[in-house]
């Protein structure tokens, strides 16, 4: 039924040929995952200056990923990031780190 609904929606737009098969990986996954961080760390990781939140845009990928993994393992203490980072897979955290590293 769900597939039928999407086909219907896509068909109405007259673009049936470009429909993604359901389950195909999301090409915007890194962007979408990184957007979940923006509430505290600013749109695209550009935190409001002087707000006290850490800006993530332009951070070195390896450094940021290590930090996130250390939060996740509990090696790095935190008020909240140790709890949030556990909600993401390692692959998801890597995409997030890569996305923010590429923001200038």
């Amino acid at each position: 039924m769900k597939l039928f609904r999407w086909m219907l929606a896509v068909g109405l737009l007259g673009a049936l040929g470009t429909a993604q098969a359901e389950g195909k990986p999301d090409p915007n996954l890194a962007r979408n995952l990184a957007a979940t961080c923006a509430n505290c760390h600013g749109t695209d990781g550009k935190a409001v200056a002087g707000s006290g939140a850490e800006a993530l845009a332009g951070t070195d990928k390896a450094k940021l990923l290590q930090k996130l993994m250390d939060f996740r393992s509990g090696a790095k203490p935190a008020t909240i990031m140790h709890q949030i980072s556990k909600g993401y897979t390692e692959a998801q955290l890597e995409l997030v780190a890569e996305y923010f590293a590429a923001r200038k």
Partner: protein, 425 residues
């Protein structure tokens, strides 16, 4: 009605030179074209408007219909009620959406949705056509469940202050005018309601104010739920700090109000207060609840979690407090902002003839002040479960603060500044 050319002309006239940030970025989402109408400019609606423009490199036209001239934030509004912040601290402009992002912001109200014709009617008389509609109306109060609050006069005497704005100011004034030795009573409806920890935060901040300014006074928390619904251990500790001033009564559902005497009628008891603050039971905002969309429990909109599209009505997406939540998902501004981003991504895919992402993820952070400086949080992360067709909380992730602390007081204010910018700037 707005076609694309008129829209661009209007945007150019309204905003002078419309800046085009994001044009130098990559081409993700750039194929999408069309007109999206967003109804409601709160945490959900403002965010989806901005992200649709940002992620489409301005390729998608967006009209935001919002009844208020400015955004007033519910989060942090309890600090205004407690006297720690001013209204100016929680009031923000929609100008950034107009000038930076080219969103057409209309101060108006949608009176009817014609989903078959893909049109909405405005109170001012105009009609807007859309390719996709996003409803982010927040909550409506179910006053039919609170006998005694039928009249406007009763509702001006017994405030909710559960939508930030004039009622926030009025409740603060009632507290300032209350005599030392007076009783402030707050009633909490059965869950689900907007902002689960919000009532307990409000009780703490009012107690904090009264402790300093009118120490003979009392805060009475009348909770329809059988226990504190959010951060229970931490709020229990906070309430102990206000021992002698604050009393918490679970299983105390409000049955009726006598507004003239500011009396809350419970099943077995009547409580007369000097300031009676009733948070009524809630449902999805009218534009979502009365447009023929399928509701659950006759209260909340049933949506598809991959796109936030109504399960019954193609082309209409609903986000924020108005939806039937996924398991353990709170109704919060933070969560509405997260819904908005999943929805923006899904709509851009749909407008480009592609399916929405099969792996959406949303997360929540709610900070609550227990006094002017000390804060506690609750956090959760929710990943899509294809078998269950909903987003599920990740086991082992999320949690609450170890104890109330000042560092998170700073983080809470940083959160507010950043989420406000994320939706409006």
């Amino acid at each position: 009605m707005w076609n694309r050319r008129e829209f661009l002309k209007g945007a150019a006239l309204a905003g002078g030179a419309v800046a085009l940030p994001g044009l130098s970025g990559c081409a993700m989402g750039a194929k999408a074209r069309g007109h999206v109408v967003v109804v409601g400019g709160g945490f959900g609606g403002a965010t989806v408007a901005k992200y649709l423009r940002m992620w489409s490199q301005q390729g998608v036209d967006v009209t935001l219909v919002e009844r208020n001239p400015q955004f007033i934030s519910c989060p942090i509004s309890n600090l205004v009620i407690g006297g720690d912040k001013q209204m100016s601290d929680i009031t923000l402009s929609y100008d950034g959406l107009r000038s930076t992002w080219g969103v057409k912001v209309l101060q108006d109200t949608v009176t009817a949705v014609d989903a078959a014709a893909r049109k909405v009617t405005l109170a001012s008389g105009g009609v807007l056509s859309y390719d996709r509609l996003v409803l982010s109306p927040g909550i409506e109060f179910m006053y039919d469940q609170v006998p005694g609050l039928e009249s406007e006069a009763a509702r001006e005497a017994v405030l909710h202050a559960w939508k930030a704005g004039p009622q926030t100011v009025a409740l603060r004034k009632q507290l300032e005018d209350m005599k030392d030795g007076g009783v402030y009573a707050l009633t909490i409806p059965k869950a689900p309601y907007r902002c689960p920890p919000g009532p307990y935060e409000r009780a703490c901040l009012v107690a904090n104010y009264l402790q300093q300014a009118k120490p003979k006074s009392k805060v009475l928390v009348l909770d329809a739920n059988e226990e504190i619904t959010s951060k229970k251990g931490l709020f229990t500790k906070a309430f102990e700090k206000y021992k002698g001033i604050l009393e918490y009564r679970p299983n105390s559902e409000l049955r009726e109000v006598d507004a003239a005497s500011r009396t809350a009628v419970l099943e077995f008891d009547k409580v007369k207060a000097d300031v009676l603050n009733v948070v009524p039971p809630q449902r999805a905002g009218d534009v979502a609840a009365k447009s023929g969309l399928k509701l659950i429990n006759n209260r909340w909109v049933d949506i598809d979690w991959l796109s936030f599209e109504s399960v019954s009505t193609p082309g209409v997406h609903v986000i924020g407090d108005a939806i039937f939540p996924a398991p353990t998902m709170p109704k919060s501004g933070h969560m509405a902002n997260q819904h908005a981003k999943v929805t923006a991504a899904a709509i851009l895919n749909l407008l480009a003839g592609e399916a929405p992402s099969p792996t959406p993820l949303v997360m929540n952070t709610c900070y609550s002040f227990v006094d002017s400086k000390n804060v506690i949080h609750v956090a959760s992360v929710h990943q899509y479960d294809a078998a269950k067709k909903t987003v599920m909380p990740v086991q082992g992730a999320g949690g609450v603060s170890a104890a109330a602390n000042e560092l998170e007081g700073k983080y809470a204010l940083a959160w507010a500044r950043n989420i406000w910018a994320d939706m409006l700037v």
